[in-house]
Symmetry: C2
Subunit: 372 residues, 2 copies
């Protein structure tokens, strides 16, 4: 038995799905024979470019945690399966960032690099997202920047990263391993990183916090699995839903943890929970995020709008005769849950394929906790 042979059952299931949803692709039996013979000869098989595009889009459609799936059909798929070296991967990641955003308008995009093949793993991007900020542990134990990436930052510094400008928002280098090689580091050129300075529409003092965030959320350490083939490097982006920045990245106690500082500037009594100072501060942080992105002309959406779109998506999927898998705990936004319509119902929980899969080692690598 060959190593890493693509699973024939998974391959057949995908090829049948592709032909069922794409009747113009011709007879499925012919393509199935082709795929099976390729697997028996090489241990793997090669997706046509239509299969790849369809597979990536359906992996998005199947992402139970994603509220943003209404537009799954329109994702741009950049086929870079011929790209294998760390340098080329880094270049194409930068190209991805540049193409996904055009004068502020963000378009859902995925870049698919070489898959795992028998005896020859595909390249890997270690970073959780293409753009993330360093977290520097200071002498007094506090953290400058994003505490989530303290270990990752220490890892790249051990490997020779000189560090950024020393701000709370220094973009981390891309860490990419290709083949059996040790990982290499690449700076993301400044002009490929669109960022938005955060200001508040009513509180001028808000600007004094000196906050900003990057425009493009591009997850880069999930494996794209299509019909038994693993594409370990397949970074994808949508646009931000405001709460991801305002509630989670800037608000979470183990991230930038800004609720108290904002509440104090709002003049709220932080000595008593009953003033709901945390809730007040959370709303103002999120108002600032949405306002600033809109003012900068960068695509972003709010959780009320995305919730409505998501229910529209569920309805469309049901009309198409498909199950729409959804994980309530991820779909319901992290603030004002019951004020959004997605809160008030249950969802199917099927695990469907193609899919984006989070491998445990990839999680560890993305947090700088697995140094090989």
């Amino acid at each position: 038995p060959r190593e890493f042979a693509a699973d024939e059952g998974a391959a057949e299931e995908f090829i049948r799905l592709f032909h069922a949803e794409n009747p113009s692709a011709g007879p499925v039996e012919h393509r199935l024979r082709e795929v099976m013979s390729e697997i028996s000869m090489t241990g793997t098989y090669t997706h046509t470019s239509e299969e790849l595009t369809f597979g990536a889009r359906v992996a998005w459609r199947n992402s139970a945690r994603c509220i943003g799936r209404l537009y799954w059909r329109s994702m741009r798929v950049r086929d870079r399966r011929h790209v294998e070296t760390a340098e080329q991967v880094a270049d194409e990641c930068v190209g991805h960032l540049r193409e996904a955003e055009q004068s502020g308008r963000i378009r859902p995009t995925i870049t698919v690099f070489a898959p795992d093949r028998p005896g020859r793993p595909g390249p890997k991007i270690w970073n959780e997202q293409l753009i993330r900020y360093a977290g520097y542990r200071e002498a007094d134990g506090s953290v400058l920047g994003d505490p989530r990436y303290v270990d990752f930052t220490e890892m790249v510094r051990r490997w020779g990263w000189r560090g950024g400008a020393g701000t709370p928002f220094d973009v981390l280098p891309l860490v990419i391993s290709a083949g059996q090689g040790t990982p290499k580091m690449f700076e993301v050129p400044e002009d490929a990183v669109v960022e938005v300075d955060l200001v508040h529409p009513s509180y001028p003092w808000f600007a004094e916090f000196g906050l900003r965030w990057h425009a493009i959320p591009a997850i880069s350490n999930m494996c794209l699995e299509i019909g038994g083939i693993c594409y370990p490097a397949a970074p994808f982006n949508g646009w931000y839903m405001g709460t991801e920045i305002g509630a989670r990245n800037l608000g979470d106690a183990d991230r930038y943890n800004l609720l108290e500082a904002v509440a104090v500037r709002l003049g709220l009594d932080t000595g008593h929970e009953r003033t709901l100072w945390r809730d007040h501060a959370l709303v103002e942080l999120n108002v600032a995020v949405l306002h600033s992105f809109e003012a900068a002309g960068v695509t972003i959406s709010d959780h009320h709008t995305e919730s409505r779109r998501f229910l529209q998506h569920v309805e469309r999927e049901e009309k198409a005769g498909r199950v729409c898998p959804a994980d309530w705990t991820w779909i319901v936004p992290p603030m004002s849950g019951s004020a959004t319509p997605v809160f008030h119902r249950y969802y199917d929980e099927a695990e469907l394929s193609p899919a984006f899969v989070q491998h445990p080692e990839a999680v560890e690598r993305g947090l700088g906790r697995l140094v090989n």
Copy 2:
């Protein structure tokens, strides 16, 4: 085989649990023989008053949806198993309301009425809670009061309820059926219904909405199941967590639906979701609830405090070597989810016994949709 015979396995499991957690209760084998012989002779068995008290408290401890379980050991248990007629049940429900609250201080309390026995069902309280407000459907299709109880209100009016004063907060009559009898209706005396007028600490205009809410949340249509015995009428109360009123009862689109009205009075632009007017209004509504209850001296807690208490409870349970079952989707508060520590972890999902069980017919009865 006898009808409704208490399940012997469930009985044994409970008796063993009781003795394991109450070593002073004496040898378990003796009590087990007693219980089994009672079941074989009568088809059921009778809990000692210690078993009943323990069973009710553990049913609370096992309530996976309840964030308020830290104080499960201290619930007062009113043993009213001898009470069977509708009139007596109604009287004791009123007694429960009076005893659960003493000059504003609310104490977790349960009143346990007669259980189901072979050929002789226990009494049932139809209302979802002992205190709930009527919903009157108006000629123009709108609803005065609580839209959740429109069908229930129409049901009791068909049965001769004259209706309340015609305010948005008219307390519904208790609907109680005992034995095979048809259900009877009983008004809750005004002086047994503590209510709080809602005002806002910063916005005097808030009082003009004329809102109020009752002090005691007492669920009355869940079945208490202990060791194979069903107590269909066992109303229980804790104190309110503010979001139950401010986010759900007053905020939900299919309840009092007040977010837009509050947002308009706050001067927010409700034409664009991005102003987060819903989120702003939600915070102010909840500030008003917490402030008003506190000012009135009525026990209430906020979701941040209850979240911390709950994690303390989980920790204590783990230390005691027990699983603490919890349903994330119910435990995480309906607003500012990620600003509470309960958001950032997973929970065990075991279904343990004793338990409070929601029978589907009881749900329908509580919503006035099952008229028998």
